[in-house]
């Protein structure tokens, strides 16, 4: 018996005259991994950022774990502690070392004791395989390490759901695997995840559901094998052809 954990209905978002999300309905079950794919500018990041209200929707309803985030009276700060987010650019706090990056919000927001926050932080650093980097500064780490620290930072708040916005796009190819490995492990542990990604192999192997977005709409959604392996929509097929086999398309094709 699956239980809806994230429910988005009738979501619309514009930036000035630009309509970026045009009517999005989406359900994510508890423990599921949903991968969002689609061409650049199709609104993937905007959709993800609406889920924790980093972007204020113009219309529609967003419910996470039975809390309606779009309710004007909701305590959004408290709701966000349960929604972890990982950014393309890592966004580690550059003035704090790794340990402090992981403890600062635990201390200031969750009001955990220094001892407890430290314990939680070290546990999560271990999960991402970076225990020995606790006292390094972000600038001393590789991109892949920074992103794994960012994941550990989000996990330290004990979130119920994790949002990933192209977590590996800014990484050198040889560092991508480490980050995807951590995400795969999280998925295996039963974390509910929404992942914007261009890593089709990851989507195919880990996602319970794949969503293809284009032009502010969800064009196609379904099990990974269906959407990636046997797409029904022409636009999905075109996109996948470009992404999966980029060398067969000229530079004029926008990817």
């Amino acid at each position: 018996m699956s239980e809806t954990f994230v429910e988005i209905t009738g979501l619309k978002k514009s930036f000035g005259p630009l309509e970026v999300l045009k009517n999005i309905d989406l359900k994510v079950d508890r423990g599921d991994v949903v991968c969002i794919i689609g061409p650049s500018g199709s609104g993937k990041s905007t959709l993800l950022r609406c889920v924790n209200l980093l972007e204020e929707p113009n219309a529609g309803k967003i419910v996470v774990n039975d809390v309606e985030l779009t309710d004007p009276d909701v305590d959004i700060d408290s709701a966000r502690t349960k929604i972890g987010m990982v950014f393309q650019g890592f966004n580690l706090f550059s003035h704090l070392n790794v340990l402090a990056n992981l403890t600062v919000a635990q201390r200031k927001v969750l009001k955990r004791s220094e001892e407890e926050s430290r314990r939680v932080a070290l546990h999560n650093l271990e999960r991402v395989g970076l225990s020995e980097k606790a006292h390094a500064m972000p600038a001393q780490l590789s991109g892949g390490q920074q992103q794994r620290v960012a994941i550990a930072r989000a996990l330290s708040m004990d979130p119920d759901v994790m949002l990933f916005d192209e977590p590996t796009s800014a990484l050198d190819p040889e560092l991508v695997g480490d980050v995807l490995g951590v995400m795969r492990q999280l998925a295996d542990e039963g974390m509910t995840m929404l992942v914007v990604t261009h890593e089709m192999q990851f989507a195919r192997e880990v996602a319970d559901k794949v969503i293809f977005m284009d032009g502010g709409y969800i064009v196609e959604e379904g099990p990974a094998a269906e959407v990636i392996g046997n797409p029904q929509e022409e636009r999905t097929r075109e996109f996948l052809a470009r992404v999966l086999d980029p060398t067969h398309h000229g530079p004029s094709d926008p990817v």
Binding site: N52, F87, L92, S94
Partner: protein, 267 residues
């Protein structure tokens, strides 16, 4: 015959050296070195200024500057936040304050505070408080703009990360943005401190007691009792004791940068 470009550049450089030497010689011939020695390098007068030039005057200059800087920094931060506020009247007030105190000579401000505040509030502040208000009030106007630029130079992703972890707007500002902003603006802030050190000379108009003299007042007071300008030279050298290391510090901080993800302040 045409002269090559490189040759021409060489001649011009020689001409510049030549000009420098001529000016130096003319100054050296025209100046009366005996008089200069007598005017600026009177050893007895210099000796008579110690130790109080250090234990009183230099010490007071440092205290006044430190007080002014501390108050100026706090007020400057408030003004910077007001300038970035979404509430328009806050922005207006901050803009008026900053433009006024940057546009008016510090001396006038000091006079205004010294005579104006007691009338306006029917009370006389202790001298140190007046010094703090005057120096800090002017310093704040300059520092506010520096701090605002620093806050805006912190990458937006830092705030987004903080908010996504559940921090409120204010909490993110205090814990994440302001500490990073101050790292970015440390070099220009050090320069503000140098300017403030020199501005502290203007508080002579506050009519201080002997034990409250700072360097300039102390130098002028010694000058009035001596036939030589030596006190001015000594006072000037004492300023350099403060300002030269600060200048080096500022350049060092600038060179070292602050590491990590950040944009240039000018961006």
């Amino acid at each position: 015959m045409a002269v090559s470009k490189r040759k021409r550049a060489e001649y011009i450089r020689y001409a510049q050296y030549g000009l420098l030497i001529v000016i130096a010689l003319v100054v050296a011939f025209l100046a009366d070195w005996g008089q200069i020695r007598a005017a600026f390098f009177n050893v007895d007068i210099a000796k008579s200024m110690f130790p109080s030039v250090i234990t009183v005057a230099l010490k007071n200059t440092i205290i006044y500057t430190a007080l002014g800087f501390a108050f100026g920094l706090a007020l400057g931060l408030v003004l910077a936040l007001m300038k970035l506020s979404s509430v328009a009247p806050y922005r207006w007030i901050a803009t008026v304050y900053i433009e006024f105190f940057r546009g008016v000579p510090a001396l006038l401000v000091f006079i205004g505070i010294y005579y104006g505040v007691p009338i306006a509030f029917q009370m006389q502040f202790p001298p140190l408080t007046t010094v703090m208000l005057a120096l800090g009030g002017v310093g704040a106007a300059y520092m506010a703009e520096t701090i605002r630029a620093g806050i805006q130079a912190v990458p937006k992703g830092q705030v987004e990360a903080a908010r996504s972890l559940g921090m409120s707007q204010g909490r993110a500002m205090i814990t994440i943005v302001i500490p990073q902003a101050f790292r970015i603006i440390l070099p220009p802030l050090t320069n503000e401190l140098i300017l403030l050190t020199k501005d502290s000379s203007l508080i002579y108009i506050l009519g201080l007691f002997r034990e409250q003299y700072e360097l300039t007042k102390f130098g002028r007071e010694t000058l009035s009792r001596s036939p030589s300008l030596t006190p001015i030279l000594i006072a000037g050298l004492c300023y350099l004791i403060i300002t030269l290391p600060l200048g080096y510090l500022s350049r060092y901080l600038e060179r070292r940068g602050t590491g990590g993800a950040r944009k240039k302040v000018s961006a």
